[in-house]
Symmetry: C2
Subunit: 333 residues, 2 copies
Amino acid sequence: MATMKQVAERAGVSTSTVSHVINNTRVVSDDVRERVTAVIAEMRYIPSAVARSLKNDRTHTIGMMVPNNSNPYFAELIQGIEDAAFKVGYNVILCNAYDDPRKQAAYLRVLIEKRIDGMILVASGADEELARLLAHQQTPMVLVDREVAGVQADFVEADHETGGYLATRHLIELGHRAIACISGPRDLPPSLDRVNGYRRALAEAGLDAPSGYLVYSNFTSEGGYRALQQLLKLGKRPTAVFAGNDLMAIGALCAASEAGLRIPSDLSVIGYDDIALASYSTPRLSTMAQPKYDMGQRIVGMLMERIMGSAQPLRRELLQTRLVARQSTAAPR
Amino acid sequence: MATMKQVAERAGVSTSTVSHVINNTRVVSDDVRERVTAVIAEMRYIPSAVARSLKNDRTHTIGMMVPNNSNPYFAELIQGIEDAAFKVGYNVILCNAYDDPRKQAAYLRVLIEKRIDGMILVASGADEELARLLAHQQTPMVLVDREVAGVQADFVEADHETGGYLATRHLIELGHRAIACISGPRDLPPSLDRVNGYRRALAEAGLDAPSGYLVYSNFTSEGGYRALQQLLKLGKRPTAVFAGNDLMAIGALCAASEAGLRIPSDLSVIGYDDIALASYSTPRLSTMAQPKYDMGQRIVGMLMERIMGSAQPLRRELLQTRLVARQSTAAPR
DNA sequence: CTGTTAGCGCATTCAT
DNA sequence: ATGAATGCGCTAACAG
């Protein structure tokens, strides 16, 4: 791989001149500029970002840690972020923590070694190692969806409590009174916030939910499938279900269908996230849309401000979700 | 951020000694080793991979270019790759080309600047720039699913032709004779290979497909949805459909349902990929499973061999797909 | 308008 | 068993 020195020699100029024509950072005579440019093309010289980073103390790389890239919510979020980052000249290193705090800490360490300029963290639980690494680290960072104890950083999330509230309100307004909830893991704040919204809506409407109506599962289709099977065993079946994410809602749709229930006439189901496939499930899924694209934009925007050295106080951005009523919800019979 | 030099000073040793205790690369007295280790911990020193890369000419980073991370097939593939890479001490920089050859070329250039050790490319069309960059580049690379004209590199794919053939055979064996095909874009070889397999199976069974039975669309749910609507307008409706990927199959399921058709009694649908959600569509989707995890392992394995300097001839790995019969296919009435 | 030089943080050769 | 010195490829301050 050609180096700048070789280019300089071949063009009969100094490396600093080559550097300046590449970066347009000082005046260069047309004559010389042309010659250098020609040599660069001829030798197919491509500058080394590694050397440049060492010199400049900037890698133009950000790290993105997510629990699981296979969850379409994260995949879509990542895409928005990768997109926004590319536009401002940044690349993203993707890290799947698989909800394993140890793996997450190991990754974080590697990212710091690589001297990423900034970090986007959708945390998978926090262990000591993580907290310690983060505590003494001043790498610009924005936390998404999940705060980390003891870590001071900008934070972005879509209002889960209100989302859960609005989803449940939607069901109530359709006339449902027996409304169950399939929640994500009980140790994840976003899950709990959504459940809190669900509860608030019920309380406000003077409804009460039998204890069996709230079941915790994990954020997968299988989780939703099993949870609905469990709900269907109840003596008094719910007429509507609020699922903590679309994956679970789709699993619930599947279980309902296999149990011979018609959606939405026998059972209404509403999800959360509005992943791309929610528009094409059978039937099309009603859901609370998270502004994933907007979130990606803002997350990158906030991170860039920090990277550029903004010293403003920590920010918390609370975005709003939006009800998307499709075919999986209707009035009870 | 602390540097090795600072650590050395504080520990009262030379930088070379610090380097050696960190990398365990020469004998160091227990006394000194302990002292250095203590100072490292105390100063929270974390070595710079940037400087190390400049020196060693290795970044322990690979670039991964995909058309679109939001397609679950790619998301799951990425996950396997990222997983395998992590195990051997590599990170992956994710690049979404959005089927835009120009963006792809721009990304590639950046990756080369960053001196990635290897590249995994699921190409989005090839433009001149890409070919030129690649042609004169000896970065280890493995191509996935799509070859690039003029580029010599290892290649991995799951046998699309056989996959299409087996999917169609499955339908034929169930007794279908009017079998349509919803294909992906006509400019993508994997699409065409699957169509070829479809045709071969039909021919072998002595069946012919009216021209309207083959419709090209794009690899999204919406694409499948629209394509099925189009098929349903035909005078002689098919009794079964082979969709080029699961996203399209799920879109087709949605369209069929909205048209009042029952799956699989009125219409059988088989997809391709076996994305996680295929197990939980309504009804559960029959599909050709691509060995995504295995592919990820092999892709990374091959790439690592190249990175380690293996000089063996170019390889083509053709993995096999597997029929997963679920509830969306059955005998015609 | 252009060249010389120092140094970014580290690994490694050569001495001792 | 340890240290001094060099250079990886680049940018930028300084000099002319």
